[in-house]
């Protein structure tokens, strides 16, 4: 150091993907998978908030049996908006486009996804879809329900069906782009030594998910296009008054939309495998069983769509076949739950925020999966389909499980993404509040569903009120639980302590690089020599200090 040089006050922070370039343009034109993940994170959170707002309107209306807060029409538009936003703009892109985008290249030791520009295009197409959906709200909403059943959607509804369809069409293509990227990246860009059966289960889950997206989403796209064509040109593709078949729509719609449930749940299962291993500090039990069950779910998931149509008028024999396969698809999900539970055995378990979310996931997913069997049993489904029993069931699976995993993932990888630590106390409280609030919201709905309360009713007979009040009260707690992390996570962003590269002391390539990771992910391409989750195996009784 010479006398003339100015004194160096601070060591320059190491280069990372956040300080690599500055300015709006460096974000909006980025091809860095990590930055695109952040773009997705912000937008997906906004859509979740909007969808949640619509849900609060629904729950407020349902506190009293009479339709007094809003008109029937506005109620219908609220639940439609809630379903559309949550399904197509939060649950489906949520974990893959945010966490998958950020983590898959890091987990497999790649510098980026195979097609970074396609990845950015995915976000823009997604935003176009979001814009269409926002326009739907501005021009007066749409009241078809997120299922768009014909001929109501194609002929009778006077909502902005075509705009909404375009929104979903665009969101679908955004997820196709992401899925192409994942499949190619996982196939071709793994680090040397990273064989298929050394991949983290998170990557396996995203691989299976991508296959479902690639084979299912185009069918939804063309179906929705046909609804649009029918509405514009009055060709009776689905309207029987014009020679069409309304059941064809249901077949095509569920051919995508049932596998879509697995698009939401499989990535969550991948997350849970990561969390459980990190906080039991041991190899996962039944690695291959979990990995291959993801593929089994992806395959069987395409063969069960007809279980949404047991009372639709499809043939009895078709119904029985779909019922049988539905029972079979439950098995690979059960395998996963058993293996996760077995992983706890002889583990070294610490109850951190992400771990609580993971255990919460197991609880909610188990309930969601088991109640799915009620719906798979065709005879019972006759009674409970289109009631609150179904509403409760799919919220347990899609919301209970997927959002628990999403929150768990955000908390687990937050130090990696931002380089900062959040406050554990707040984290644990929010996990518990969400778990309690969720069960309070949706458990009563099982009971009132079996009692016969139909879904999509804005006014209902008095005897259901007590359950609706319980459900709305639970929803308030749930909403509080969802808002809480927003504050302490943002707080940590500015005032949180530095995380270090590997705050959980977890295995996985993503923890071997800096936090936040540098622009090119790794200083040099890592070489993998061991299995996934190669935590040290204790030889005898071990006491770990209760830190």
């Amino acid at each position: 150091m010479t006398v003339s040089s100015p004194p160096v006050k601070l060591e320059k922070p190491p280069q990372n993907y956040l300080n690599w370039a500055f300015g709006i343009k460096s974000w909006l034109l980025t091809t860095d998978h990590k930055r695109i993940a952040i773009l997705y994170l912000i937008t997906v959170t906004l859509f979740f908030a909007l969808g949640g707002l619509a849900a609060s309107l629904v729950r407020f209306e349902l506190i009293t049996p009479q339709g007094d807060l809003m008109s029937a029409d506005n109620y219908n538009k609220s639940f439609t908006l809630h379903g559309m936003l949550m399904v197509f703009f939060f649950l489906i892109p949520g974990i893959p486009a945010v966490m998958g985008n950020f983590l898959i290249p890091l987990m497999i030791g790649a510098k980026d996804l195979a097609f970074p520009r396609l990845n950015l295009a995915s976000w823009y197409v997604f935003m176009v879809g979001g814009l269409f959906t926002m326009t739907v709200i501005v021009v007066g909403g749409v009241d078809t329900g997120w299922t768009f059943y014909t001929p109501y959607s194609s002929t009778y509804s006077n909502g902005a069906v075509i705009l909404a369809a375009l929104g979903i069409f665009a969101a679908g293509f955004a997820s196709i782009f992401t899925a192409i990227n994942f499949v190619v990246t996982i196939h071709k860009m793994r680090a040397p030594g990273l064989t298929w059966f050394r991949l983290p289960l998170f990557v396996w889950a995203h691989y299976a998910t991508s296959i479902i997206i690639l084979l299912g989403t185009p069918v939804l796209a063309i179906t929705i296009l046909m609804v649009g064509i029918e509405r514009m040109f009055k060709i009776g593709i689905f309207d029987p008054a014009l020679g069409g078949d309304p059941l064809l729509f249901q077949h095509l719609f569920w051919f995508y939309s049932h596998p879509a449930v697995y698009i939401m749940v499989l990535p969550s299962m991948g997350v849970i495998s990561e969390l459980i291993t990190a906080f039991t500090r041991r190899r996962i039990f039944g690695y291959k069983a979990i990995a291959l069950s993801s593929l089994a779910i992806a395959l069987l998931g395409f063969l069960v769509w007809g279980h949404h149509m047991f009372v639709s008028g499809q043939s009895v024999y078709a119904g029985l076949v779909f019922s049988a396969i539905t029972f079979m698809v439950a098995i690979p999900s059960a395998i996963k739950v058993f293996n996760w539970t077995a992983t706890l055995f002889k583990g070294t378990i610490s109850f951190t925020t992400p771990m609580l979310y993971a255990l919460g996931f197991i609880g909610l997913f188990t309930i969601g999966g088991l109640t799915g069997l009620f719906l798979g049993a065709a005879a019972v489904d006759v009674h409970v389909t289109d009631t609150y029993f179904v509403v409760a069931h799919f919220h347990y699976v899609m919301v209970g499980a997927t959002i628990m995993a999403y929150m768990g993932a955000i908390h687990f990888w937050w130090p990696k993404i931002t380089g900062k630590l959040y406050n554990e106390g707040w984290g644990i409280s929010s996990a518990i509040i969400i778990f309690v609030g969720f069960n309070l919201t949706f458990m009563p709905q099982f009971i009132m569903g079996y009692l016969g309360m139909p879904r999509r009713y804005y006014a209902y007979p008095d005897e259901f009120q007590i359950y609706h009040i319980a459900s709305s009260a639970g929803a308030a707690i749930l909403a509080f639980g969802y808002v809480l992390p927003l504050f302490y996570l943002l707080y940590s962003l500015f005032f949180g302590p530095k995380a270090g590269d590997n705050p959980w002391n977890a295995k996985g390539l993503e923890w071997t690089t800096a936090s936040p990771p540098p622009h090119e992910n790794f200083e040099e391409t890592p070489i993998v020599t061991e299995e996934a989750y190669a935590y040290p195996v204790p030889q005898k009784a071990e006491v770990t200090s209760g830190a």
Partner: protein
């Protein structure tokens, strides 16, 4: 195989082989989604063909078999010129690459032109679904449905052709500037795969719409 050229290999790939494999797989995966995309329309076709076979036969007889047969021939030939273009790129033959690309474009445009003539005929005969649709025989709605599916399917196919022609035109300019060599030919190969897919889609569309009932005249 080839040595690394920074201008050819993107920084996030290890080497050119990895890049080429990734590109090829990506294209195949994309084509798989395209199959499912068209598959929805073929599914609708199948269901209604079995529901209303008579209406579909009558509708089919209104289509112009001669123009469509010429078009089938044109499109199959364009697949050949496309394959030759890929070959020329792989062998560093810039002149023939450009010639074959242009030939493919011209054949594509001929196809689209003839398709336009066919569409024009349908407009004149009031066979376009919608308020101006006219049909004297029985099965008014069913025949309209046939034409609805016909326009949706061939329209979607034509849209793919237009996109293909656009990309090929862009590639002609890139070929002039020497972008495609035996090292960096994969974009040409990619668009070739796409073009063959569009061709194969037509090979399914042609019999389903034009050839289902040509015996009873």
């Amino acid at each position: 195989m080839a040595h690394n050229q920074p201008s050819v290999v993107a920084p996030y790939f290890r080497d050119i082989d990895q890049q080429r494999e990734a590109n090829t797989l990506g294209m195949w995966v994309f084509l798989a989604t395209e199959v499912m995309f068209f598959g929805g329309l073929f599914m609708a076709y199948t269901v209604y063909f079995f529901n209303y076979p008579d209406a579909f036969h009558e509708g089919s007889r209104e289509l112009n078999l001669i123009l469509a047969s010429i078009n089938t021939f044109v499109l199959l030939t364009s697949s050949l010129t496309m394959a030759l273009a890929v070959r020329s790129a792989q062998t560093d033959n810039r002149k023939w690459l450009i010639i074959f690309l242009i030939a493919t474009i011209v054949l594509g445009l001929v196809f689209l032109g003839l398709k336009g003539v066919e569409y024009g005929e349908k407009f004149q005969h009031h066979l376009v679904p919608g308020p101006h649709f006219e049909w004297d025989g029985s099965f008014f709605y069913e025949v309209q449905l046939f034409f609805g599916l016909y326009f949706a399917t061939t329209g979607l196919h034509a849209l793919h052709m237009i996109i293909g022609v656009g990309v090929l035109t862009y590639f002609v300019f890139k070929a002039f500037r020497g972008h495609f060599t035996s090292v960096s030919y994969d974009p040409v190969e990619m668009v070739g795969l796409y073009w063959h897919f569009v061709d194969i889609a037509w090979v399914f569309i042609f019999p389903l719409y034009y050839l289902i009932d040509r015996t009873i005249q």
